[in-house]
């Protein structure tokens, strides 16, 4: 696989039947790998009649990663295989065993399959009915949906004799699975699993011919006519009773509202309404930097030294809400597909993160949440910051890969500390220092001291390359106080530790 990645621009992974989940897993692995190395390689997974792969969490995770477009599951309108895992199968063990054997033999040597293995008609009918009943309950929503172990992910392309429709909304996929199976029979729900070749042939030659609406009474509005055409392609006759729920289902699957382009244009205006809040925080930071308390905005905000902090806090919350909304819109696919690569948004998000995350950290430690939930870095960091981190890294790596990087040497301290989690690290380091005093176990102590040294090296590195803002070095900032304590403690520790530990104390070992 790695060799393939090296020499290809795009990779398609495919599988039929039980090969489907294997293909999907392989694609998932590849997508995760590509994300970690930031590669432009394109991946597409096409499965045919594949059983379901994962549960609702996996399905949602894929939506969040915006990988839904990388999966296309082709499902014929009656095939029972993709629907099997919606139902508890334990009671059907023997029938299933036969069924799988039949399918396998039919695929490898069609004649043999026909001759040897045939499920009894009663078994087929029972299987069909059993799946239908469970699917129906699922399609109705309610508790069954919660209990279902498996849930669709990515796009589903439903094929019929009349054409194909593509649905990417998991709820609608489940409903369509049910409604289409309703029009099938115990026999063809098994045979259909073997007919993907025919379906694909049929669908892929459709472009040559006019395909008009065949029934009378075509709606006049473009929207409804579009739904009616989709219904026709799904192979459901408008006369059938399932046509009405199917139509409803397709309508919900098609998201309405403003197009992503206009939405993101509109977002520029909402952003401008929120930027003044950020500007006020900037102002607050500047005034803290100049104030006589010499604490920097992190500590000022944490200690709530004046009335202004409550206003700043309000702005902090407003901004968090705004950005959470943006992330939600992105998650639900309401924004253009390349939104997270647009410089304007990447830059604004980064600036927001650098300025405001320290306040979030201050709030976290001020309210003592860390004692309940654990430290900020591991347990308290909001998802939006992690997303913005990723956007920024991606942008930086693009700049590096296109060779536009200039040697950035700072002439003065950055206006904002470039590591927005700096203060969270200070807080942790402070706890370590406190623990050193009370810790008696020498091994634990050595570990603690190693951590402390690690932080000290990291912070010194940041300061030397001027990646921090000047508030970090303010006379009364948490960091400056920490350094004082550290130096004091270090001299004690050197006396206290037996010789073999002095190497830690001297900071020779850099973790």
């Amino acid at each position: 696989m790695l060799a393939l990645i090296e020499k290809s621009k795009s990779i398609i992974i495919t599988g039929h039947s039980l090969g489907g989940p294997a293909a999907s897993l392989c694609t998932l692995w590849l997508l995760s790998y590509l994300q970690s190395v930031i590669s432009p390689l394109q991946v597409l997974c096409i499965t045919f009649g594949s059983p379901l792969l994962g549960n609702g969490s996996l399905s949602r995770a894929i939506l969040r990663e915006r990988w839904g477009g990388n999966f296309c599951h082709v499902v014929s309108n009656h095939d029972i295989m993709p629907r099997l895992l919606f139902v508890p199968l334990a009671s059907l063990n023997s029938q299933l065993h036969l069924l799988l054997q039949y399918w396998q033999l039919s695929m490898t040597s069609p004649e043999l399959g026909q001759l040897v293995f045939q499920l009894r008609n009663e078994d087929k009918a029972e299987l069909f009915r059993f799946v239908l009943v469970h699917l129906e309950a699922l399609a109705q929503g309610g508790e069954e949906t919660m209990r279902s172990l498996f849930w669709p992910l990515g796009n589903y392309l439903f094929c019929s004799q009349e054409g194909a429709i593509c649905v990417d909304n998991a709820v609608s996929v489940t409903k369509m699975m049910h409604l289409m199976l309703l029009t099938g029979s115990p026999n063809n729900c098994i045979e259909d699993h073997l007919k993907y070749g025919d379906y694909v042939d049929k669908v892929s030659s459709q472009f040559l011919y006019h395909r008009s609406f065949l029934q009378p009474g075509l709606p006049a509005s473009s929207y409804e006519a579009g739904v009616a055409l989709a219904l026709q392609s799904s192979g459901i006759d408008i006369q059938e009773s399932v046509a009405i729920p199917a139509k409803d289902c397709l309508e919900t699957a098609r998201r309405m509202g403003r197009t992503p382009n206009l939405k993101s244009a509109k977002l520029a205006v909402s952003l401008s309404k929120y930027v003044p809040f950020r500007a006020e925080i900037e102002w607050y930071k500047a005034s803290c930097d100049d104030s006589e308390e010499e604490m920097g905005y992190y500590d000022c905000f944490k200690l709530r030294t004046s009335k202004r902090e409550s206003r700043v806090n309000l702005n902090r919350i407003r901004l968090a809400n705004f950005w959470n909304d943006v992330i939600n819109m992105l998650d639900s696919n309401q924004l253009p597909h390349d939104f997270h690569r647009r410089h304007k948004w990447v830059n604004t998000a980064q600036f927001y993160k650098l300025l405001v995350e320290p306040l979030d950290i201050a709030e976290y430690y001020k309210s003592g949440t860390h004692r309940v939930k654990g430290h900020y870095l591991k347990h308290g960091r909001e998802r939006r910051y992690e997303i913005f981190d990723r956007w920024w890294r991606q942008k930086e790596s693009n700049i590096v890969s296109t060779g536009q990087e200039d040697n950035k040497i700072r002439s003065k301290f950055a206006s904002l500390t470039q590591d927005s989690c700096f203060w969270a690290k200070v807080e942790e380091a402070r706890e370590w220092l406190d623990n050193v005093r009370s810790e008696s176990d020498i091994r634990e102590l050595a570990l603690l001291w190693k951590n402390i040294e690690g932080f000290e090296t990291y912070a010194r590195g940041l300061i030397e390359s001027k990646e921090v803002s000047k508030d970090v070095l303010a006379k009364n900032s948490s960091y400056t106080l920490w350094v004082k304590k550290y130096i004091a403690l270090k001299s004690q520790v050197v006396q206290y530790f037996p010789p073999q530990f002095t190497s830690f104390a001297n900071g020779e070992i850099v973790p």
Binding site: S10, I12, Q42, L44, R66, G68, G69, N70, C72, N155, C166, D168, F207, L208, Y209, H210, R211, S212, F213, L218, P219, A220, S222, A225, G226, L229, R255, T259, P260, N261, L262, S264, A265, K266, A268, V269, S270, L271, S272, K273, V275, P276, A279, W283, A286, N333, Q334, P336, H337, K344, N347, D406, K408, R410, S411, K412, A414, S415, L416, Q418
Partner: protein, 648 residues
């Protein structure tokens, strides 16, 4: 018929027969003068080529970069694509290759020069004629230049027309370009630029319902490489039997056309499915897009006229579909035969006089099922096809609405207005506030830029808020432009260009002040390279394009960023001497041309303070400003530049 198409019937017929005759012209083109009592027409007809190498020189679609120095009007004004290969507008390769074939020369300019001279003569004669016979002018009417070509002669005619338009923009003669069975020629930027420049209506493309050639370039070369020579040979020699390849060829072209049309339709209908984007990187999609007016010949004599490029693209695919499986071979044959049948078909149309002019309104309200007497029935369109055409019209209408939205008064939640206010007025109001702020800062003798950079008072903070509000409104506009959600002509709209220029000059200095105040140059890089927002880049290019200025020459609004970068220079004066001189020359040009406010020259401004630190030799001798003041002492003494002179 004449009024729907926008040219005289005899001229259409004449152009068609000339275009066909031109294939046999040894010199590559024919020039005919058609005198008449009302107007005098020069008709240029170009020869095509039947050689496969002329049709497809580059993979995957035979496209190449257009030479923007020769066709500056075709550039994309605001949007500049990052990707180097997409930086230019593409025109298809036959045009470039054919120029060599026709003119027998290697240099592009040389190649075209022969017919260019002829065109120039025609234009000049026209102008002289007008002057000489001023009295007769009214009687004479206008003179007309018409370029025409059939098949691969079409792109030649288009290029010639564009060349003419680039040069004749002052002469007010609008040329005509008539093509018959012409392969697709430009990409979406090309199509966009022609509408923007108001040139699209000069182009009339006749397309037979099944003619394969106008659709051919929707398929990548690799897919039709095998059969293309045979097909072209058929066109050239017209043997009696039809080639066996016809069916395969038809199917391949249609398969690819279907991919292009479906992808375009997904965009038209606002499909958000991510699969569409993924698949695009697996299937090569043709970059071409129609432009101008298309006249579809239905085959039974009636004509369908439409000029919405998105609709035409859909129609190119859908009108060629089969009614039933049994039609396959016959239509495949017809798709080749019809490429040579324009003359006969147009004669029939002239007799019939049935022309359906399908405008935006008709398109948007197209009946969805055939059967009734709708204009497009003769092209046999399915329901799906009709939905796509409607969507194309809806998109155009939406673009118009988007533009109107900026003028439409509406309530804004955050503002304290007592009555609804339009985005445009909101913008003007905010700019007025900043204007007042600027006047106020002038009193402090530090200037607008420096006052804002210091951020000392509440006024400075309020100005910052106004700056951000304006940024929001302009970013919305730019975002729409980037996604082609505004009408093609937006960037040529005089009112918006003026507003954009005013905005840029007023607010960009504040953005720069903010940038350097927060030393963002050390986070991201120099402002002009890395930090300059698109809202300023776009508006600057609007003005430069409209006034035909050298690109980059209207950079007065980022003057301060240039100053800041020079100020930060650590390599010594000699290294940046040329840049300093350039800055001074620009400053003279901009201040004297009133493009830049004189407050940059106030005693306490960053610029003046920096300038005074320059080496004595420069300040007394070499400086462009010093030289200018020496040449024009009076003017220099009266101007703001005197601040620089007093101390030296």
């Amino acid at each position: 018929m004449a009024s729907a198409i926008g040219m005289r019937e005899e001229l259409i017929i004449k152009a068609c027969s000339s275009a066909m005759n031109a294939h046999r012209s040894p010199q590559g083109y024919i020039l005919e003068e058609i005198p008449s009592s009302s107007d005098h027409t020069f008709l240029f007809s170009f020869r095509g080529s039947w050689s496969a190498t002329d049709w497809f020189a580059h993979k995957p679609f035979g496209e190449t970069d257009i030479k923007l120095d020769k066709f500056p009007s075709l550039r994309s004004i605001g949007n500049i694509f990052k990707n180097k290969f997409r930086n230019y507008i593409r025109m298809n390769e036959p045009m470039q290759a054919l120029k060599h074939v026709h003119m027998g020369s290697k240099d592009d300019l040389d190649a075209t020069s022969k017919y260019i001279i002829q065109v120039e003569m025609a234009v000049e004669e026209n102008e002289q004629g007008c002057q000489k016979k001023k009295k007769q002018r009214a009687v004479m009417g206008k003179r007309q230049v018409v370029f025409t070509g059939h098949s691969a002669g079409g792109p030649m005619a288009i290029l010639a027309t564009l060349w003419f338009l680039e040069r004749a923009w002052k002469t007010k003669i609008s040329p005509l370009c008539v093509t018959f069975g012409c392969p697709l020629t430009g990409d979406h930027i090309f199509s966009h630029a022609l509408v923007r420049e108001n040139w699209a209506s000069c182009f009339k493309h006749f397309v037979m319902r099944y003619d394969i050639v106008p659709r051919m370039l929707l398929a990548p070369i690799t897919s039709i490489e095998q059969s293309i020579s045979t097909i072209l040979h058929f066109f050239e020699t017209r043997p009696r039997g039809i080639t066996e390849e016809a069916s395969d060829f038809y199917e391949t072209v249609m398969r690819n056309a279907s991919a292009v049309a479906s992808h375009a339709a997904c965009k038209l209908m606002g499909n958000t499915n991510l699969l569409v984007e993924t698949v695009t990187s697996f299937i090569p999609l043709s970059p071409y897009k129609p432009f101008g007016t298309y006249i579809f010949c239905t085959g039974n004599g009636s004509l369908v006229v439409l000029s919405n490029p998105d609709a035409v693209l859909q129609l190119l695919f859908y009108s060629c579909q089969l009614g039933s499986e049994t039609e396959g071979t016959e239509i495949a044959h017809r798709s080749l035969e019809q490429h040579l049948g324009y003359e006969n078909e147009l004669q029939d149309s002239l007799q019939m006089q049935v022309v359906h002019d399908v405008g935006l309104t008709e398109l948007a309200n197209l009946p969805l099922s055939g059967g009734d007497n709708s204009a497009l029935n003769d092209l046999g369109l399915s329901t799906g096809a009709r939905l796509c055409l409607r969507a194309a019209a809806e998109l155009e209408k939406r673009k118009q609405r988007n533009k109107a939205y900026f003028r439409m008064p509406s309530w804004t939640r955050e503002s304290l207005e007592t009555k609804p206010i339009s985005k445009k007025d909101e913008m003007k109001k905010a700019m007025q506030v900043l204007d007042d702020y600027r006047k106020m800062t002038a009193v402090r003798n530090v200037g607008y830029y420096d006052a804002f950079k210091l951020q000392k008072t509440a006024d400075d903070f309020n100005a910052n808020v106004k700056r951000l509000e304006l940024a929001g409104i302009w970013d919305e506009i730019i975002e729409m432009l980037k996604r082609y959600e505004l009408p093609d002509g937006f960037e040529r709209d005089g009112e918006w260009i003026k507003l954009g220029t005013r905005y840029r000059r007023l607010v960009e200095p504040l953005d720069i002040a903010n940038y350097y105040r927060h030393s963002k140059n050390e986070d991201t890089g120099p402002y002009t390279i890395r930090g300059r927002p698109k809202r300023y880049r776009y508006t600057q290019r609007w003005r430069e394009h409209a006034e035909r200025m050298v690109p980059g020459s209207s950079g007065e609004s980022h003057f301060w960023a240039d100053v800041e970068e020079l100020r930060l220079n650590k390599d010594g004066f000699e290294k940046v001497k040329d840049e300093v001189l350039e800055l001074e020359n620009n400053l003279l040009k901009w201040v004297n041309g009133k493009d830049l406010d004189e407050d940059v020259l106030l005693e306490e401004s960053t610029f003046v303070k920096w300038w005074k630190t320059l080496p004595i030799q420069h300040k007394e001798e070499d400086s462009a400003i010093v030289k200018w003041c020496k040449i024009l002492p009076n003017q220099g003494a009266e101007s703001g530049f005197s601040t620089l002179m007093t101390n030296t």
